[in-house]
Symmetry: C2
Subunit: 245 residues, 2 copies
DNA sequence: CGGCCGGTTGAATCTCTTCAACGTCCGTGG
DNA sequence: CCACGGACGTTGAAGAGATTCAACCGGCCG
């Protein structure tokens, strides 16, 4: 037996096996880590799945740990004292989940779909941040991206009509989920990852208004529905027009 | 003559004279820099003032440079194709102004009041970021703070009534500008740093609605006005109630 | 003085919400 | 097996809240 082959099988350049096929290593924060750091991290990390609706915060799931999203969609929600809710962010794979340097986020994170995560203790990451500037750089980049997205959404919340809001939402999901949706004029097919109630909380509307606007998009032929979830967009460009740019 | 005294007068521990009384050195990003870095930076930095309404972007003022805000308020605006506007952020001293790692921000920055800035070339900062992790850490902290603020505001935009929005705005300004406004039950006095039009663009409302809601707060005794700008809040707590938490 | 800018106020309109009823899907239990 | 209940979604009618359009006021500058 060849020890070199054995070593390669187990470590493959020193990269832990669990990380080998992980998207977070390419596009996520783990890309900033060395093989040794990945090895250290993988010893305390664990992959797990959460069902739709499961909360990630207040269950020792996030306060004391960070996670990478491997698949699925996570929604970040803020709630007013009287119960009004607003979704303030959606996170897709391979986003990093967690708020460094702050214990209480005042935000609840919830699985919008079935979600699989790779979680690790806060302390290990916080130490690695201090040791390797590359990681902090990755975090800064992701945070800037989230800030850009939040500001884009502020325009939608503050200045768009209900019809434009719903179109903007479908367009955003299409771009995130459907690989083809990029070039204009193309079509797109995908599933909406959220209920009408979630969409309403995301758009600052009521369930009824969301439903009516989706119906309108359907009767106008901008989208084709089945399941109330599965969407076909014949022309992404036409949808963009409805989104008010 | 004593050379030690001379040296102290000019350099004072090596810290450049222009930086000595600068707030950014304490609470801003410059706090992460060594005396030598400050010296390097101060050679290419320049302090200047901008009048209200002056744009900071697209005038070689920001695209190729970053700035620290020394005084005044800067508004960040996004505009839709048809002219609808939304203010997506307000920055106060000693905030850092500029978007690292990205040439085009799709955001315009404008002086909401008279503003004084300390500006430096993008290239110098970008290099220092690479050299000193502390600076990147400061930037990450500020970006996280801005993200928190953006998300707070998303709740206001999406889920609050016009009355609550205006109260929230006045409350936010009070907390930023008036030193006393912290503890509940206290009173506060300050000037609104923006026109009604700006406030409307910030809250996703029309000028008229903003005006009506301010009038209502005035007739209800929650605020006392003069100048349409100067505000006295007898009880911050009562204002908080109007803001819907 | 006249015009413009920023702000206020009123009346009509419209968009979105509220309230209510109804339909469908799906798992549970008789 | 089918009836029941709940979650999710759609649709309609009535109502509230914000916008639109318009008039008006005061201050400032040319």
């Amino acid at each position: 037996m060849n020890t070199q082959n054995l070593r390669k099988d187990v470590h493959t350049d020193g990269t832990p096996v669990v990380c080998l096929s992980c998207e977070a290593r390419h596009r996520g924060v783990c890309g900033a880590l060395t093989s040794e750091q990945l090895t250290t991290l993988s010893k305390t990390s664990y992959k797990h799945k959460l069902g739709e609706g499961h909360e990630l915060v207040g269950e020792a799931e996030k306060v004391e740990s960070y996670s990478n999203i491997l698949s699925g969609v996570v929604k970040l929600t803020k709630t007013l004292a009287d119960g009004r809710q607003q979704i303030v962010g959606l996170q897709f794979a391979p986003d990093f989940l967690g708020r460094p340097f702050k214990a209480d986020s005042e935000i609840t994170a919830q699985a919008a779909t079935n979600v699989s995560l790779c979680s690790f203790p806060k302390s290990v990451i916080d130490r690695m941040i201090r040791e390797s500037p590359g990681l902090e750089h990755k975090l800064l980049e992701q945070t800037l991206k989230e800030l850009d997205e939040a500001r884009d959404w502020m325009v939608t919340l503050g200045r768009k009509t209900a019809a434009e809001k719903v179109a903007s939402y479908i367009l955003m999901i299409a771009r995130h989920i459907d690989p083809e949706a990029g070039p204009d004029g193309a079509s797109a097919t995908f599933d909406l990852p959220m209920t009408r109630a979630d969409i309403a909380d995301f758009l600052g509307l009521t369930i009824e208004t969301v439903s009516r606007q989706i119906t309108k998009l359907r009767t106008d032929g901008v989208i084709v529905l089945e399941n109330n979830r599965h969407v076909f967009v014949p022309s992404v460009e036409r949808l963009e027009l409805r989104a008010g740019s």
